[in-house]
Symmetry: C2
Subunit: 359 residues, 2 copies
Amino acid sequence: MERIYFQAGPTTLPKEVMLRAKKEWDDFENTGLNIMEHSHRGDTYESIHEEAKTRMRQLLNIPDTHDVLFLQGGASLQFAMVPMNLITAQKTAKYVLTGSWSEKAYKEAKRIGSSEIVVSGKETDYRTLPQMIYESFDNDAYLHITSNNTIYGSQWPDLNAFSHPVLVADMSSDIMSRPFSVSQYGLIYAGAQKNLGPAGVTAVIIRKDLLRESESIPSILSYHVHAENRSLYNTPPVYSIYLLNLVLQWMEEQGGVEEMERRNKKKAETLYNAIDNSSGFYQGYCTPESRSLMNVTFNLNTEEAERHFIKESEAHGFYGLKGHRSVGGIRASIYNAVSQESCEELAAFMLHFQEKYGK
Amino acid sequence: MERIYFQAGPTTLPKEVMLRAKKEWDDFENTGLNIMEHSHRGDTYESIHEEAKTRMRQLLNIPDTHDVLFLQGGASLQFAMVPMNLITAQKTAKYVLTGSWSEKAYKEAKRIGSSEIVVSGKETDYRTLPQMIYESFDNDAYLHITSNNTIYGSQWPDLNAFSHPVLVADMSSDIMSRPFSVSQYGLIYAGAQKNLGPAGVTAVIIRKDLLRESESIPSILSYHVHAENRSLYNTPPVYSIYLLNLVLQWMEEQGGVEEMERRNKKKAETLYNAIDNSSGFYQGYCTPESRSLMNVTFNLNTEEAERHFIKESEAHGFYGLKGHRSVGGIRASIYNAVSQESCEELAAFMLHFQEKYGK
């Protein structure tokens, strides 16, 4: 039986990407080496490095006002780098809390400089996104949001709805899933392991006026240093960037970010319909207006029923459906590489499970 | 013509490792996925994660007093993490300068806390290793050395010869190339891309009493946090660690670190003999007692002759021999995965080139 995966990340990459990488495994462009065995200072790797940046620019329509960086350390390192680089004297970093990852981002900022919560969804157990209240921006170093919340399964419905002079977003779990206006953002960061590629590389998009030189920031943690060196200040994660480039190429071939959004909406609709048409057998975790197109979270009536569902789903070939260890429940992560067919098969299984045990 | 690579890193991995990874590409342990597509919280990945640590412990005979961590960001991130975590109040970090990388490490430490140079080889243009002068250690946070200097081609001949209560070593370019006593070290770090695997993962070996909790250190930059979470605080670079584990397994199968040292000595001897027997046509960059077994650096009489040598060597299938852009000359990097045969072929080419043009 073929397995179908709905993992929260790292997760499945597009089959076409895996086939291409396998084909190029032994002998990249007649060099007799895999690309990971090439020097990062050589032309062979350099062209991939630049190609990946250009593809990212084209897919997200990134304006010339912004730089694209490839770093390491995932979103967790960005939780520290953002405040280290962007909190300046007399300014306060503002955080919007919409789940565990924004809580973590805020906690790290507090270690580094003046930081405050502007609004939080915690009182609803992160079932809904909070109302954004805009006050004066004058003393803000930046406003930090998390575009999609993998653990609770919520997502800001419109990335163009925010308005702040220095808007910072953790888009780790939904970058490239839908179009938005990059020009509205000061800084965007995304660990690759959901929609961009394998774990080990982090994409950062930063408005150039925020690239600040500072003697007190360690070089490796300075956006300015990485931008000056075109993300070749230190040895980049060569193979992860190679795969990221292939994933971006795949997106281009599929029709770009607009097509990703069309598919993602349809996939999510398939699963949310299965939940909403179950007469309460399945209960969506988040309120409908806060629901994520990337992570579909739901509950059954009891934890025992949820354990049964997980067990039975695995027996039917579905993997990765267990909710995050911190909240439990069921979670189907349906990033760009997950197909409509997989979602339909899961929806069919949900119906089958309900018919069998829902009496 | 088959190409032979002598790159300074990233560089070639053992052929057996590349074959095994290719074989497991599509379907790791009957999961239908590549290991990079697996969740880092799942049993499939977790067992590799722990296996790699155990292998590292066994190969280097790491005592229970020390932890093994797998991080990201390369040696460059360690240049910042080491002083952030180890410089405490009233203590000064001491640096031994033996080349460009130790200069960089020192420069970063100065940004973070009290740091001093104890001794430097700079006055000899790093052709020789400086004499170590031991004074009182009482005010030292640690003593930092670079075990092998890739750019100049020098290497401390005996890693057991240092004596300091908190000895810290950057072993990025020679870890696993020879046995030494880990117990003498407080902290060892190594970017993987020379002897351990592909770029994207960094091994850290740290004595447990140095794992210090601190509110002021960002979590992702705290050794304590990574140790507490068994290097799973954030998503690890899954595929890089998988390959690192295969490289360690390969070393085991070849006979361990002792066998690596035996081979490395023979390989280096082959090339240094070619230099020393050339009646001055080739001149070793470093003094004989400082010579590296990993990076064999030498010059010809003129820069023009060196350019000619590089060009002709490529025509004969030898790649990666150009010295580092900061110092020029010729450099043959002969890490663990480079074979004795490759070194003999290069030595033969050197003789051939001298006979042809050395009149």
